[in-house]
């Protein structure tokens, strides 16, 4: 099983994306998608050495729901900033977020989440991989914003990437 499907999550993802692309569920589509789901992970195996294990359970679904909710709320906040705040009143800041995640995949996911929620863009990671440089458009309290990122996103990612 491990040799046939070295990366079950990637295989499932490939099959789903293939069926979404075809936009119909037919026997032929499932067979062709299943074929790609079988051989592509096998051929790309050298590209992801020591990948972390992920749990796609309740923690993952909660994380997705929270991120989508935050994207919607933050969109309205940033829209208000753009429309009504004068440039000289913007409190744009650099934030340094200490990373407690231990794999590149998890750090990428945290950085992507920070960039997707409007108002914050993750700009760089430190060379030793322990800090994330985040640019925030308008923050009142730097420490509180960093703490929010840590508890809201990072703590949940730590439970997903085990």
């Amino acid at each position: 099983m491990k040799r046939l499907l070295p990366h079950p999550a990637l295989s499932a993802m490939l099959l789903i994306v293939w069926l979404l692309m075809a936009n119909t569920i037919t026997m032929g589509g499932i067979v062709l998608g299943g074929f790609f789901a079988l051989i592509l992970p096998k051929f790309t195996q050298p590209f992801w050495p020591d990948r972390p294990r992920m749990r796609f359970g309740r923690a993952f679904l909660t994380y997705l729901a929270i991120v989508v909710f935050d994207i919607v709320v933050a969109n309205f906040q940033v829209a208000r900033l753009i429309l009504f705040r004068r440039n000289r009143d913007l409190r744009a800041r650099w934030l340094i977020v200490p990373i407690e995640l231990t794999t590149p995949e998890a750090i990428t996911m945290l950085a992507g989440t920070i960039s997707l929620t409007p108002g914050t863009v993750s700009s760089d990671v430190s060379a030793d991989g322990r800090y994330l440089l985040v640019h925030a458009l308008d923050v009142a309290d730097d420490a509180a914003e960093v703490a929010r990122i840590k508890t809201r996103y990072q703590a949940r990612l730590q439970r997903i990437f085990v």
Partner: protein, 137 residues
Amino acid sequence: MSAIADIVIVSLLLLGAGFALIGSWGLVRLPTTMERLHGPTKATTLGLGALLIASVVYFQTRLGIWTAHELLISLFLFITAPISANMIAKVHLHRARTGAANEPIGIAGPPPRPGEKGDWATFEAPKRETPASTANS
């Protein structure tokens, strides 16, 4: 039935177009590169999400078919948008430090250094033997 669907579609389209407009307006009026980056990241999330939901509702109510391409579009956007924003930010940091940028550095000023020693990955090669490094293997 059809009237309700029309109202839903039109209000979603207006919401999406409105957010795309506000995002573009942000691109024009915010002062420097780092602040401007926040505009486009908005347009691709909620603005585009509303437009894509409108498309799903339209195809379902008007033509009676379910489409899934919108889901794929948002999936690809969610993967690519943060990466392009990250690359723009890194180029901006580099130009700001080497003095190549002929524009003000931004409201937040130059970025602080991480911790006591070391630097950001734009200026210093990634260290091996750290838990986050991809240079290990």
